[in-house]
C-alpha cells in the first residue's frame, strides 16, 4: 500500500531521516502558506509517477506565486487522480542527487538495499544503461543491518569523513523503518547533498504490506489505514470498499459474480474471448459470508449498465450450499429482473442444488430468468449463453 509523499515524510521524521520542513495545503488551508520560507517547491500529492513531467511539481518565488500555483493544481486530474493536497517545501540548492532504497527482490525472494550515486528522475534509465552504477546489498530477513554495512553503503555513495557517518546513519534508519514497519519499499530518490552540506531526503516513497498492518498500531495513530489507492473510486467502488469487497468497475455489460479467489480474472478473460464485455472485476475472497455474497450480487443488480449476470461457484472453502442460500435469499428479498446465468460445482454441490430446486419450485416467477448449471456443463457454454442473453437484453432495450 503506497503512501503519499507527505505521509512517507511523516514516517521519515519519526525515524529521524532528515527531510525538509514542509506544509500540506488543501482547499481549506491556504493560510498555511504564511508559514513557509520562500522560494518554494509545490508538489501535488498523488500516487502516480510522472507528476513532474505532467507539470505538477512547480517552483514559486513568493507567497502570491505559490498561492496561484497551489490553487491551479488543486482539483486537477493526474491520470485518474484528483489532486486534493499539495506539499509545499522550501526550495534548496543542491550539489548532488543520490538514490537509496530498501526493497524486496522478488526474483531472489530476498530483501536488499539499493544505492546509486546517480539518483534523480532518470534512475530507471541508469539501471538499464549503466547497471554497474546501481549497487545492491542483500540482507537476511530478521537480521540487523550491521553498522559497518551502512558505512560501506555511505562510502560507496561517495561520502568520506564526517559526512560518511551522517549518511551511514540515514542508511541505517531507512533499513530500520523498512524492517520495523515490514515495508515492501522505502525509497529516497533523490537523496540530496544540499549546497550547505546537509544530506536530505528530498522525496520519500513508502509502500506498506497491508497484510502486516495489524501489527503496527502506530500507523493508525498517524492516520495511515488500509485503503484503495489507485485512482479515484467510482460510487460503486466506494460502496464495495465499505463492505470489504475488492471491486473495480469496467465498461461492459456483463456483471461478473465470481466464486473462488482468483477466478475473477480468468472469468474476465473468457468473457472477452467469446466476444462479451465484462462490467466489473470482483473477488469474493476466501470464504465470503452470506451477507457479503448478497452484497456482491446487489452491486451488479443495481448497476444499470449490467444487462446480464454471469456467476460461477467452484465450491472449495466457500461451499456451494452457502452460495445457493445467499442467491435464493437475495432473489426472494429483492426480486431482481435481470437474467442471471450461473454455474455451481464443487464442495456441497448436491446440497446447493437442492436448495435452488426447492426455491425454484416455491417461487417460480422470481426464478424464471435464473439458470444455474452444474458440474457437467462446461463453463464456456455458460459464458456463451450469458453473452447471448446480454445481447438479447441490449437489443430489447432493457
Amino acid at each position: 500500500m503506497r503512501l503519499y509523499e507527505y505521509e512517507a515524510k511523516n514516517l521519515f521524521r519519526r525515524y529521524n531521516i532528515p527531510v525538509l520542513d514542509s506544509i500540506l495545503v488543501d482547499n481549506s488551508s491556504f493560510n498555511e502558506l504564511d508559514k513557509v520560507a520562500y522560494p518554494v517547491v509545490v508538489k501535488a500529492q498523488v500516487f502516480l509517477g510522472g507528476r513532474g513531467k505532467a507539470g505538477f511539481v512547480q517552483f514559486a518565488q513568493n507567497r502570491k506565486e505559490a498561492e496561484k500555483k497551489v490553487a491551479n493544481m488543486l482539483g486537477k486530474k493526474h491520470g485518474s487522480f484528483t489532486i486534493e493536497k499539495v506539499l509545499v517545501e522550501r526550495r534548496i540548492e543542491i550539489d548532488r542527487e543520490l538514490y537509496v532504497s530498501a526493497a524486496i527482490d522478488r526474483l531472489k525472494h530476498e530483501p536488499l538495499m539499493i544505492a546509486s550515486q546517480k539518483g534523480g528522475v532518470e534512475i530507471e534509465v541508469v539501471a538499464r544503461k549503466d547497471p554497474s552504477a546501481i549497487l545492491k546489498y542483500y540482507f537476511k530477513i530478521g537480521a540487523k543491518l550491521p553498522d559497518f554495512q551502512a558505512r560501506n553503503i555511505a562510502s560507496d555513495l561517495g561520502f568520506t569523513g564526517a559526512a560518511m557517518s551522517v549518511c551511514a546513519d540515514i542508511v541505517l534508519r531507512v533499513f530500520t523503518l523498512f524492517v520495523h514497519l515490514e515495508c515492501k519499499l522505502v525509497e529516497i530518490n533523490p537523496l540530496v547533498v544540499a549546497h550547505d552540506g546537509r544530506i536530505i531526503a528530498l522525496d520519500a516513497k513508502v509502500d506498506l504490506d497491508e497484510d502486516a498492518m495489524f501489527r503496527h498500531h502506530e500507523l493508525k495513530e498517524m492516520g495511515i489505514v488500509a485503503r484503495h489507492e489507485i485512482g479515484e473510486l467510482t460510487k460503486r467502488e466506494r460502496v464495495a470498499k465499505a463492505k470489504g469487497i475488492p471491486y473495480v468497475d469496467l465498461d461492459g455489460d456483463i456483471g461478473v459474480f465470481p466464486g473462488g479467489a482468483g477466478f475473477g480474472i480468468a472469468a474476465i478473460d473468457l468473457i472477452q474471448h467469446y466476444g462479451g464485455k465484462p462490467a466489473n472485476f470482483m473477488d469474493s475472497g476466501g470464504a465470503p459470508t452470506q451477507e457479503k455474497l448478497r452484497a456482491m450480487l446487489g452491486l451488479l443488480i443495481d448497476n444499470p449498465r449490467v444487462k446480464a449476470i454471469f456467476g460461477a461457484r467452484f465450491g472449495g472453502i466457500s461451499r456451494c450450499d452457502d452460495w445457493a442460500k445467499a442467491v435464493v435469499q437475495y432473489v426472494i428479498e429483492n426480486k431482481p429482473k435481470k437474467p442471471m446465468i450461473m454455474r455451481m460445482a464443487g464442495n456441497m454441490e448436491e446440497a446447493g442444488r437442492k436448495i435452488l430446486e426447492q426455491a425454484k419450485q416455491e417461487h417460480q416467477e422470481l426464478f424464471k430468468n435464473i439458470k444455474i448449471y452444474a458440474y457437467d456443463t462446461p463453463i464456456e457454454e455458460v459464458i456463451k449463453e450469458t453473452i447471448r442473453i446480454a445481447k438479447t437484453q441490449r437489443d430489447a432495450g432493457n
Binding site: 525472494h109 530477513i141 497484510d211 480474472i265 460445482a345 464443487g346 458440474y375
Partner: protein, 292 residues
C-alpha cells in the same frame, strides 16, 4: 505414483480446531486422506472428527514419526510460527491454506525452508490433490479424476476449472497443485514442474499463471529441460492494467509480470501456450499424441 501426496501419505492438520479446518478435515478424511493428528496450541487432548489434537507438532510427530505432510490453517498472524514449527519437526511438505500472511514473514519462512530443503506450498493455496489417493486442502473432490496430467495453478478456482475441463475431455490428473494467491509464495512453478518431470505417471503438465509477480518468468527456463510437454495459460490478459485488482498475486508491478512478458518467456522456452482456458484439453491431446 502422483507427486507429494499418495494413498499412504501421513498428514497432520495445524490449526485443526478452527471452523474451516475442522470442516475440511471431515472432507479430507471422507476422501481417504490419512490424517494422523491435528495441532492446536492450548487445545491438546481434544478430538476433531476422530482425529486427536496435540498442543505441539513435536508431540504429534513423536507419536506419528511417519508423517511427511502438514497443512496449515491457522490465522495469518500465527502462520509463520506454524510453518517454522513444521519445518523444525521434520515435516517434508507444508501446505499453507492460510491467506494474507505478512510478506516479511513469508520471506523468513522461505529462507528457513530453503536451508532445510522443505517444500512449502502457499500461502493462500487451496491445497493439492492426487485423485482417489489423497487430498490436502479444500479442493472440491468432485472436480478431480485420476489420470496422467499434472496441473499447477496460482488460483484455486482456475485449478478447479482446469481439472473440470480436462475431465470433461476424458483426461484425469496425476496430481493437481494450487500454488496459492499470496504475493510471496513458498513453492513456485519450477518446484512443482520438477516433481512432475520426475513422476512416471505424469504424461504432461498444465500450468496456469496470471498477471503479477514473477513466478512464471522464473520457471520458464526449466521448461526447456523437461522431457514431458508443458501447456501454459496466463490469466489476466484482459485485466485492466494499472488498476489494482483485489487478488494480491495479480497486481501489475513494474515492467515484469505482465501477461505478455510471461507468455513470451514461456513460449520461447518451449511451453505450448493456451490463449484461453477452453482450448487447453485440445492442446493437451495434441501434445501427448505428438510425443507418443
Amino acid at each position: 505414483m502422483a507427486i507429494i501426496i499418495g494413498e499412504n501419505t501421513s498428514t497432520i492438520i495445524q490449526g485443526i480446531t478452527g471452523k474451516n479446518a475442522s470442516l475440511h478435515t471431515k472432507f479430507m478424511l471422507e476422501y481417504g486422506t490419512k490424517i494422523v493428528g491435528g495441532v492446536t496450541p492450548g487445545k491438546g487432548g481434544q478430538e476433531v472428527e476422530g482425529v486427536r489434537v496435540y498442543d505441539t507438532l513435536h508431540e504429534c510427530m513423536s507419536e506419528h514419526p511417519d508423517a511427511t505432510v502438514s497443512s496449515v490453517w491457522v490465522p495469518p498472524r500465527f502462520a509463520k510460527d506454524a510453518i517454522l514449527e513444521a519445518i523444525d519437526s521434520g515435516i517434508k511438505t507444508v501446505v499453507v491454506i492460510t491467506e494474507r500472511i505478512p510478506i516479511h514473514d513469508m520471506l523468513c519462512v522461505r529462507q528457513v525452508a530453503q536451508e532445510k530443503n522443505v517444500l512449502v506450498i502457499g500461502g493462500n493455496t487451496p491445497g493439492l490433490i492426487s485423485p482417489e489417493k489423497s487430498l490436502v486442502g479444500m479442493l472440491p473432490k468432485i472436480t478431480f479424476q485420476p489420470g496422467r496430467i499434472g496441473t499447477v495453478a496460482r488460483s484455486g478456482a482456475v485449478t478447479y476449472y482446469l481439472a473440470n475441463s480436462l475431465n470433461l475431455a476424458g483426461f484425469g490428473e496425476s496430481t493437481s497443485v494450487g500454488l496459492g494467491g499470496d504475493p510471496i509464495l513458498g513453492a513456485n512453478f519450477e518446484d512443482i514442474l520438477q516433481l512432475f518431470e520426475a513422476d512416471e505417471e505424469t504424461d504432461a503438465v498444465v500450468m496456469a499463471g496470471e498477471i503479477g509477480g514473477v513466478y512464471e518468468e522464473i520457471a520458464a527456463p526449466y521448461i526447456r529441460e523437461m522431457s514431458i510437454p508443458v501447456i501454459a495459460y496466463i490469466a489476466g490478459k484482459a485485466a485492466p492494467a494499472g488498476k489494482r485488482l483485489g487478488h494480491a498475486g495479480a497486481i501489475i508491478e513494474g515492467s515484469m509480470g505482465t501477461a505478455q512478458s510471461k507468455i513470451d518467456a514461456l513460449r520461447s522456452n518451449g511451453a505450448i501456450i493456451a490463449e484461453t482456458l477452453s482450448e487447453i484439453p485440445e492442446l493437451v491431446k495434441k501434445a501427448i499424441s505428438k510425443k507418443a
